[in-house]
Amino acid sequence: MTTLAPVMDRSIAARLVRSPTDARRARTDRLMRGLALAAAIACVIPLAAVIGFVTVNGLGGLNVDLLTKAPKALGTGGGAASAILGSLQMIPLATLVAVPVGVLGAVYVAEFSGRRSANAIRFAADVLVGIPSILVGIFVFTFLVLPFKQFNAFAGSMALALLMVPVIMRTTEEILRLVPGTLREASLALGIPMWRTVLSVVLRTGLTGILTGVMLAIARAFGETAPLLFTALGSRLVNVGDFGKPMDALPVFIYVNARQPFPALNQQAWGAALLLLIVVLTINILVRARSWGRRAA
């Protein structure tokens, strides 16, 4: 025994000392960690770059004139009032249509349908989320513009609604699935009918989450350009309330003005881009801040 002990000591010590293999592994480890970190930074850079670039170029264009004046029909001058008012009309109408459809659809999938039809509907919604938005524009163009031989804001709103519905439906459905089944049981066991249970217990419990989905859908609609080019078209005129006529919208305004040969109009496009960025980022940050707050609480 006494002769064995030192041998054991040595072998343990030998196993503890760093071998060439260990050193190589440590180097590989450092390298891969570095690459992963670089990739992570690469994901964040575009956001920072976009915000920085748009802010620097847009600050000069974002002024009172841009917010309050209508565009001039020809030449330079004026502002983006037509676009701001247009977005503020078409998006509420789109929301008004998309929220009931999206929420009710989610209620059907989460609460009433069988597994098969739920999967089918969920799959369809997922595909719809991924469909290029210009196809939605062409689709709506066929049904709501061609028959009237007139680009119109109503068609623009419907195109936006079509893009919002699957987003609202999927987020709402995810939220409804998070509402514990025990709450449904508790409600039904009180003799509360199913429809009332869904309305006053399930939807009520998931309300903040559903609002999050709606806000994100609105943020998306604010930035959509392609579906509006075929439908609301855009306009140099301020259109308040006439959904049968073309209407301007912020992203369309940016697109049109950026293509003009006049630097002043390009400057307006940058200003409008900054405005749009502020709107979309504000909505996103508000929504996320609220869910952070809830997670902390």
Partner: protein, 316 residues
């Protein structure tokens, strides 16, 4: 706010002096009336549960009569040929090993099993002479007569204590405020929670402790004025002190309500119940009733060897 004050019921004292013995009412009338009335129904005069001598209650004494009950999930039979009688204004405990269908059985008594898509029932459950499985009975109405309390306290998280208690009333129709106030106080008193929450009725229901939440759930079930209350392991998620309070509460509640409780805890069954039904499962994994009788009989002098093995802790 004027509230009707009512002394908390104490065990073994006759119920509510204002409501004397009632003439026997036609069962059909009772069944029709039940879902709609808000005010406490005049209670039939009752004997204290402990005084009832027989294991086989006669028809007038029976709240629920279960006959040839089979419950299937798809093609799997979960419960086989259960027949038993649950006595009015008594606590009936259902005990048995895991998977013997205790909870399934309980959930069929107010047709909560229908929430499971493949579940299907054969046989009959008579409540005041009416088969609750029959086509004439609407499950929504039935659940106002046969209430339920679950294993985990599940108050509605978006509602205050007050709103939780009146949820069953408010979400089934409009009621005047003073009536709701009365129901809230009466239900919370009966659930032995009033003194603890009377100053914070607007606080969120989930701000209470686990035991208080469970009593809130009991108050919520009482608010719709049920006849029978089903409790599915109501104390298994609670600490011993909260458990004791729930058990004391059951002793008081049985003066006004028929209580059926599923429990894994045999001491609890022995402490709280008047009658005990022992379920187990057979070779085919279908649960069945081994024997039922007065709780003291089941625990001290069971007729069946299986029961004896179970209550003496030799199995399960």
């Amino acid at each position: 706010m004027t509230l009707q004050i009512e002394p908390p019921p104490s065990p073994n004292s006759p119920v509510d002096g204002s409501t004397g013995p009632q003439p026997d009412v036609d069962p059909v009338t009772i069944a029709v009336d039940r879902g709609h009335d808000v005010m406490p129904r005049p209670l039939p005069s009752i004997e204290p549960a402990a005084a009832a001598p027989s294991t086989k209650p006669d028809a007038a004494d029976a709240a629920l009569a279960v006959e040839h009950l089979n419950v299937y999930y798809g093609s799997f039979r979960a419960i086989k040929e259960v027949g038993l009688t649950i006595r009015r204004h008594a606590v009936t405990a259902i005990i048995g090993p895991s998977g013997c269908g205790k909870s399934t059985f309980l959930r069929t008594l107010n047709r909560m099993h229908e929430l499971t898509p493949t579940a299907r029932v054969e046989g009959s459950v008579l409540l005041d002479g009416i088969d609750i499985m029959g086509p004439d009975v609407d499950p929504v109405q039935l659940r106002r007569v046969v209430g339920m309390v679950f294993q985990r306290p599940n108050p509605f998280p978006t509602m205050s204590i007050y709103d939780n208690v009146v949820a069953g009333l408010r979400l089934t129709g409009r009621r005047p405020k003073h009536e709701l106030d009365e129901v809230v106080e009466r239900s919370l008193r009966r659930a032995a929670l009033w003194d603890e929450v009377k100053d914070k009725l607007r606080a969120n229901g989930t701000s209470l402790s686990g035991g208080q939440q469970q009593r809130l759930c009991i108050a919520r079930a009482l608010a719709v004025d049920p006849e029978v209350i089903l409790m599915d392991e109501p104390a298994s998620a609670l600490d011993p002190v909260a458990t004791l309070r729930i058990e004391q509460l059951m002793a008081e509640l049985r003066q006004r309500y028929t209580i059926v409780i599923v429990t894994h805890n045999m001491q609890q069954a022995a402490r709280v119940s008047d009658e005990t039904a022992f379920f187990t499962m057979g070779e085919d994994r279908a649960g069945y009733l081994v024997e039922m009788g007065r709780t003291t009989e089941i625990f001290t002098n069971p007729k069946d060897q299986l029961t004896e093995d179970y209550v003496s802790g030799r199995f399960g």
